[in-house]
Amino acid sequence: MFVVVGTVPDREFPLVHGTVKLAGELVLIGDKAVPVNRGTPALLAASILATETLGIPAPYAFLVGDIGYGAGSRRLYKYLTEHLHEFDIDTLTFHYIQPIAHWHDKLLAVIDAIRGNPVLIADAGFMYAAKMSGFAERYDLFTPDMGELAFLAHESAPHPFYTRGFILHDEKRAPELISRAYAHKNAARNLLVKGECDYVVHCGSIVETIDNPSEEAMEAIGGTGDTLTGIVSALIAAGFTITDASVCAALANRLAGCLAGPTPATTILEIIAHIPASLKETLAARELPFKESNAIP
């Protein structure tokens, strides 16, 4: 089972879990509907279309409402520590959740007891928690942007507030920051660094950089980092190696943006609609096994 854990930017949204579906502009989970704007709903929408394209089951999500203050996240942490062991999980992606180190550690202990050793992916708030807890190396993939990479690279910063480079990005420093993150054991085994140039990293070595295709208007569009994490998670869930999945996701995400013919007012949903075509094209170009017959029409 491919599982995504995250939050919805709605204070009243209850804690729900279930298989997700995409219906127009909404992600459906149980009897609840979430608009795809950005954040975890955008990740899920990208994952749903990617899994459909790859012919594997749609993601199973655990969601709760949280507008960034952490009340919903705490309920979600508690629920997961009590119930996650009941699920048969092979790929587990954590996204926008309030970074709370002690809750992270409790949850990681539960994950370690899950049979089959699921692939662990972390982005956004949960990635901060993994670094703050000192357990970054336990993860298979982090998907930081340049600012988040600066936070990972800082050997002692307890919070992004203390990180030089968190909000003032310097893309030229990516290789140096990647080295520092690994030197101080603050990186997952693999990194997919999102930026003007995407870096695919395996065990500290940059194995590929991707800066094409590129559209200037994409810089203005919110949610492209979320969709990238959604695509790479789906590819890993489909059995691709993390390196292949990262390269293909970076390419497919960029191509989906181009296919949308973006303007600065383009929404992330308009880009997500092009993920099936961009993913097929990318897999074919990379000569990676994609079985059209398996794809759900």
């Binding site: 930017p9 954040g39 942007d145 600012g147 507030f161 203390y162 003032l168």
Partner: protein, 183 residues
């Protein structure tokens, strides 16, 4: 540690009078910068939040540029609020000039203002916020959800509904868009 070690004075260096007359306050954490900015503005000081000069390796992502003549008064104001900068330095060399944290991109119909890592894009015809991008802080999806699709003056201010460093950067971008739209 003094910042003076980071540069070699150049008697013939060219910089405008404003540079000569300004200084920078350096802090360990951007949360202290945000508090200091608030206190100093409340007290009527003419200060600006900037990026640190490339030569300054200490401190966080932001510095405060202030009128050097008022250094003692400004430090006293901060001290009374319990905010102590780790270092104060005159902008006495181009290498110590703080950097602008804003980037403006004019796409024709749309205008994008970037402040540090956060970007806000508006439709110039009706001032509708068409996109908010950047940042991975926990409140970013909520900020984007609450602000996108609304006109600039009808949208909530990031400082009123957000609380992270990304929200702060978005507030700076929001204020810069407002300033440009009111010109």
């Amino acid at each position: 540690m003094s910042l003076l070690k980071y540069f070699t004075p150049k008697p013939d260096s060219v910089h405008d009078r404003n540079d000569v007359d300004s200084g920078i306050l350096i802090f360990d954490s951007t949360s202290e910068v945000i508090r200091a900015e608030k206190v100093l503005k409340q007290n009527g000081w003419n200060i600006r939040v900037m990026g640190p000069p490339p030569q300054v390796r200490t401190g966080c992502d932001l510095v405060i540029e202030f009128p050097l003549m008022e250094e003692m008064n400004i430090l006293r104001t901060l001290d009374q609020s319990g905010i102590i900068p780790t270092e104060t330095a005159p902008v006495s060399s181009p290498l110590l000039k703080p950097v602008d944290i804003y980037t403006i991109k004019d796409f024709g119909r749309h205008l994008m203002v970037r402040a540090a890592n956060m970007k806000i894009t508006i439709d110039k015809n009706d001032l509708t916020i068409v996109n908010i991008s950047g940042g991975g802080c926990p409140d970013v999806p909520y900020l984007a959800h609450e602000m996108t699709g609304k006109r600039l003056h009808e949208a909530p201010c990031p400082k009123d509904i957000g609380h992270t460093l990304c929200a702060y950067a978005l507030q700076l971008a929001y204020e810069e868009v407002e300033r440009r739209c009111s010109l």
